[in-house]
Symmetry: C2
Subunit: 216 residues, 2 copies
């Protein structure tokens, strides 16, 4: 399970880069908090936990924070990522230009469909059977799973077997992995259902309030 504070550190980092690009050198917990939607105390607590220190009255030095966070997140080197499944989602990811700015690189794709192989010229696409070999050669440790749910667990197993330690899973299945392999699920449908629930809940609440008023 990934801790909340690390997820926020990742957000702070993006925010710090933004402010640095705007020409700022220093920043307050209040500003960061505002920006990512938490309390300033939360920001200070997070920083404190990772030993990121600022100056009283003068706030935090952006470059300083970035250096320390970059170290924490191992941003000094480029991380290789492999991708299984070059369907709709896979193709979108291959086209995405935002990875390299963040020191990540899609180094190879894999599919079972011969039509998908080598067609997308942005990254080399191999047959899924070559995945173990390529993962080992590239020493990749992070994989993205964008295959149909029916084969998700199977492809996951192959990744784990080849040494992958973190999997970003788009398939709507709960993958079973050894405990040293972390899985993060992205489920568009689940998120949408949660949004629908929230939206109905707030309207339900409003209607209740309305009725309450009427009774008065």
């Amino acid at each position: 399970m990934i801790k909340k504070n690390i997820q926020r550190i990742i957000q702070y980092r993006m925010c710090l880069l933004k402010f640095q690009n705007l020409g700022f050198e220093r920043i307050f917990s209040y500003t960061l908090a505002q920006e990512i939607g938490v309390s300033p105390e939360q920001v200070r607590k997070d920083f404190s936990q990772f030993n990121l220190r600022g100056n009283k009255k003068a706030g935090y030095k952006i470059q300083d924070l970035l250096d320390k966070i970059n170290e924490l997140l191992h941003k000094e080197d480029i991380h290789k990522i492999i991708l299984a499944g070059l369907g709709n989602i896979g193709k979108a990811l291959v086209q995405y230009k935002g990875f390299i700015n963040r020191n990540m690189q899609l180094v190879a794709g894999f599919d079972i469909d011969p039509a998908k192989l080598k067609k997308n010229c942005r990254i080399p696409v191999f047959h899924i059977d070559d995945m173990p070999k390529v993962i080992r050669e590239e020493k990749a440790r992070i994989g993205i799973l964008a295959v149909p749910e029916q084969v998700a667990q199977e492809v996951c197993n192959q990744m784990v077997e080849a040494g992958i330690k973190g999997i970003l899973n788009f398939a709507p299945v709960m993958l079973k992995t050894p405990e040293d392999v972390t899985v993060q699920n992205i489920s568009v449908c689940n998120e949408l259902e949660a949004l629908i629930y929230m939206s109905e809940k707030t309207t339900d609440k409003k209607e209740k309030e309305k009725k309450g008023k009427k009774r008065k």
Copy 2:
């Protein structure tokens, strides 16, 4: 903020459907827990909180749970969803066939690029300027944001103005919305960075353990 228990309820639902399709009529908290990776106590607690009841010794009746969860999640009717941005991600979503099984329907897309309009024939695609009108006509309440980050807040504002109450945001920005509008962010890069952090952390730990052994 969306509560954790609702997110699990959504997962239980998928799991229940799976077991129902396999021919089961009843299920135990233990089985569901196993399946989605939580403790059986958690499952029972969640069910208890939403007044989903089972039989001691005989577990839960799947159909019963599904009926109640469907009501809870407003699954009786099909929910209309609109999509802003028909680039890489937008196109992938348009192609996705999994929405309708879950009572959700992409009813319209919007883009600023004339080349994108009406080209994807699966759903009608309008110019972004028509979004307010179409949202109101369709009475859509949920929107997906898949536009470049530079215009994300602006398009978000237009959605909110037109009555959207839940936004699934793919852009790497923290959107500002009124508190009755819920936002869920999907950030592939953040998730990958978190996975990288975890994978490095576990290897760090292992190396430490190794060293510890050597010393002995």
